[in-house]
């Protein structure tokens, strides 16, 4: 294992701060920006609030979207955001504004997260200068559960988060925060859940670092291994914990792990663990096809994949939008099995697993 399995990336990190309506995004942002370590931060917001963050490089954008010909909503270009990010670079280079080391984009409560990610990954100039560092989603302990019930955007925002911040725990009823956390954990088990009152949190605990993202996936793997040993791992069609032979003559195993079974359409996470290296060609064909056919059901895909190289391939996708996969120079720990985490609703988990294994077997036989 190396200290930095990704290698250096000199681009400016962009943190996306999203969250449910009234869940305390601006309060959190204001407190964060008051921290000495956040001094060289540019902030892009949709609405100027009453919270005092004027001493920071603050810019306001009117949400302006461009719907592409495909009609794919999650691939809507946020022209406002792309323009503003480009403008920040131009003004910095012209000496009009001081250099900045980080950008925080605060979205409206109803913003779809995928178009923002799509914009960051699509615009060539933006892509050359910025990298997505992580997504922070605020959920308030008082209204969060109700918003998850009533607003589809809420589940999406929880699903895309790299960090989930539960706010207003000081005024929520007994048990509310714990119940909400349990529900959020089912939707997005690999995002740490942090309880924050009045925005009091250290920036380091909140802003995603690549190593921590990797660590989270590795920790999930370790936890699943432990659950497997305890006989708690679900296995569709097989006994718990056994490998699954699909008759391809190779005995290739794929295990399906879920926190519990879901019969409803509520968003939840499940993982697929593969015992042997994946055929990358088959995987790319399979996932692109899956996202085309079931893109509205699959909210998030994330994983570390063994595609036969020295290190794993890091995969990260939000709905139809998939980051360019990154080859890491080393595995985060001794476990080198591929693991794919899928956050989805209304989809047959066993069918997803069976399909992936069948595609992989066919590619290897060909």
């Amino acid at each position: 294992m190396t200290d930095d399995p990704r290698g250096a990336d000199e681009r400016i990190p962009v943190t996306l701060l999203t969250g449910f309506l009234g869940s305390g995004k601006t309060t959190l942002l204001a407190r964060l920006l008051g921290h000495p370590g956040m001094g060289e931060t540019a902030v892009i917001v949709n609405e100027l609030g009453e919270v005092g963050i004027d001493h920071h490089l603050l810019t306001r954008v009117d949400e302006r979207t461009v719907l592409l010909d495909s009609g794919c909503l999650c691939c809507t270009l946020r022209g406002d955001l792309a323009d503003e990010l480009r403008d920040l670079i131009d003004r910095r280079d012209a000496g009009e504004i001081p250099p900045f080391r980080r950008v925080v984009v605060e979205t409206t409560g109803l913003a779809e997260p995928a178009p923002i990610l799509f914009t960051l990954l699509t615009d060539r100039l933006v892509q050359a200068n910025y990298r997505l560092d992580g997504t922070v989603t605020t959920v308030d302990a008082v209204n969060g559960a109700d918003q998850l019930d009533r607003q589809p955007e809420a589940a999406k925002q929880a699903a895309v988060a790299d960090r989930l911040v539960v706010t207003k725990t000081d005024i929520a009823g007994p048990g509310a925060a714990a119940g909400l956390a349990a529900r959020l954990r089912r939707i997005n088990p690999h995002a740490p859940i942090l309880e924050v009152v009045l925005g009091e949190i250290e920036p380091d605990a909140l802003l995603a670092a690549p190593e921590r993202d990797l660590r989270a996936v590795a920790d999930e793997l370790a936890a699943e291994r432990a659950a497997n040993r305890a006989g708690q791992l679900h296995e569709s069609g097989d006994s718990a914990g056994r490998g699954h032979d699909h008759g391809d003559g190779r005995g290739r195993g794929a295990r399906l792990g879920t926190g519990h079974q879901h019969g409803s359409g509520e968003a939840h996470a499940f993982s697929i663990v593969l015992e042997e290296a994946l055929d990358w060609t088959a995987f790319g064909v399979w996932l692109s096809m899956l996202l085309q056919a079931h893109g509205q059901s699959v909210l998030r895909v994330k994983g570390l994949l063994d595609v036969g190289g020295e290190g794993p391939l890091l995969l990260n996708g939000v709905q139809h939008v998939v980051h360019p996969p990154e080859h890491l120079v080393a595995w985060p720990d001794s476990d080198r099995r591929s693991r794919l985490v899928v956050i989805a609703r209304g989809i047959d988990e066993g069918a997803v697993r069976d399909s992936l294994v069948a595609f992989d077997a066919a590619a290897r036989a060909g």
């Binding site: 592409l68 495909s70 691939c75 699509t122 790319g284 692109s288 360019p324 069948a358 036989a365 060909g366």
Partner: protein
Amino acid sequence: MCVLCGQLLSSHWAEVGGGTRDRIARVKFLNTVLAHWGLRLDDWGNRVYVLRNAKGVGKPVPDLGRLWVIAEQLNDGPLDPLDPALAQRLRAGAA
């Protein structure tokens, strides 16, 4: 990057960094899958794919992202990778 909007991007995420050998392997594998719906993909000069249906109607395809959109058009319906019959067909071919 986006399966629906892949033509707008420099490369589809699943095709980044691949050479001619990877492209040939991809076309071969895609044809294994597409045959389930009577579709066939050809590669013209390593630059553009052409997808045809059983009636011989063909359309150019810039990359893997747009492939599935155009395949739905030529198939006159969705192509579901979770179709159990497809998985059975792929497993039978691999045996």
